[in-house]
């Protein structure tokens, strides 16, 4: 009894509307290499990346707050496995709380030798200070910036 198989691929394209808040955020990154957050009036937290409303309170956020470029590592991992459609390993990424922000934003960590996982992990330990670096050519995307240890 021969068990047969069929190969199928899912191929759908989407145009996701970013909305005013995210659009403004990315425009600032693209044009001025600056990162901004928005404050939730009820909790006082500056949310980065910014959102039009806080999901904790459902209240609309209020003022724009410039954050960074320095910050602190809140979480990270170093990937050693290849996953389809994701970058070739090894690479490090995680979350950074930029100065002025109360939440952490995701991004890649570059400039650290990832050959020895334990050594690299010590260099990127939670609490490590980092600074934001911006690409020369920016598109208005989270990949326009990354973090390096200071």
């Amino acid at each position: 009894m021969q068990f047969l198989k069929r190969t199928e691929n899912w191929n759908i394209t989407y145009e996701h509307a970013l909305g005013e808040t995210a659009s403004w955020f990315y425009t600032k990154i693209r044009d001025d290499a600056e990162i901004y957050g928005r404050r939730c009036p009820e909790s006082g937290r500056v949310l980065v990346p910014p959102r039009a409303f806080s999901d904790q309170t459902l209240a609309p956020t209020t003022d724009w707050v410039k954050v960074g470029p320095e910050g602190v590592i809140e979480a990270f991992t170093i990937v050693y496995d290849a996953f389809k459609n994701l970058p070739p390993p090894p690479y490090a990424f995680g979350y950074v709380m930029l100065e002025g922000a109360d939440t952490a934003i995701g991004g890649y960590f570059k400039g650290v030798d990832l050959g020895d996982p334990a050594a690299a992990a010590r260099k990127l330990a939670i609490g490590t200070r980092v600074t934001t670096r911006f690409a020369k050519e920016r598109k208005g995307d989270v990949l326009d910036f990354w973090f390096e240890t200071v």
């Binding site: 199928e8 759908i12 989407y14 509307a17 005013e20 995210a22 904790q56 459902l58």
Partner: protein
Amino acid sequence: MRTALQVGMIGCAFHAPRNHDTASLEEAVHQATHNALRDAGLAIDDIDGIVVAANDQYDGRAISIMAASGSVGGVGRDILCTPSCAEHAFVLAALRVGAGQFRTQLVVSWSSLETTDLSEAQRLGTDPYFHRQLPIDDLSSHGMQANALEARVPGAREAAIAVTESSRKHAAIAYPEFAASPVDPRVIASSRVVRWPLTEGMVSKPAFAVVAVVLASDAFIAERGIGQPAWIHGMGWATEPGFLGDRDLAELPSLRSAAQQAYDAAGITQAESAFDVAEVADASPYQQLLALEALGLCEATAWQASIGRGDFQSGGRLPVNPSGGALSFNPVFCTGLMRIAEAGNQVRGQAGRHQVADVTKALAHGASGFAMQYNTVVVFGRDRKEVQQ
């Protein structure tokens, strides 16, 4: 079936911005939530739990409840998701209140237009074993069902055209901003064929909308002094099998079952004369015809006569889809919840320009999936149901 505590619809919002590109999906869902809570006179803290429904493939998010949950007040709350269809979210929410575990529930569903290829997304709903190579999307399935119905019922096509015309006329009053067209039956009949026998004029382009509804228990409603809820007198839901070839597309036994469940619970024996208004599924006019029959509102043999007489038009003996239905505005994934909400609003006296006078009982029907696979029926009443103990 024992009757448990009673559940009422106390708030509703439709968010259908003209231009859906200016806000993210999550922001749109948040807006609808905000509007529904305001309509109910409640704050998010009054909500005990939430049920949402969306289609991952339409949204382009592998678990659509994830980012959306923040928008609907899901953080710190009990939130579930029924991606089978929007109507199921309503059903589950009503069951959760009826179980006595929650005093209120928020129900939110949306139909996004961020994929450039809705048809392709729908085609992924066919099985890869036998049917994926075929061009089966929602519209194709509606076309097949229409053909089956035409073969079974002489005059079905004429009835379908007439129903389309009525719906567009209703929409011109209810939601003139949709500019639902064509209205002229000759144009409806002769416009370009999209999926034989369906013409472009017989269906409505997919639209973007978010629909939100608030439900509450009788105790909560009494405590807060909330006036004129739409009480759920009966609810029924059932499904056809998945393979179109396993079905007689000209019949809807699952809708008959769902209707029976709802009518039994509501104590309705003569559906034809029990309701003041009905909102039924009509992604194509043939759906509406099938619904009229399976809901016991009008036998197929009487379609032409009843429709010709204007029985189901505004002002007729039983207005059907005074909102204009999906034939006029079609947020594909959540049209079913929209029908339920429109019927509930009629009972609440909140149906705006298309309010039917003196509504004491309304019938709602939503259908989803290929060729009306899922059918859900809700009976709303203005007064609390007589409790059988």
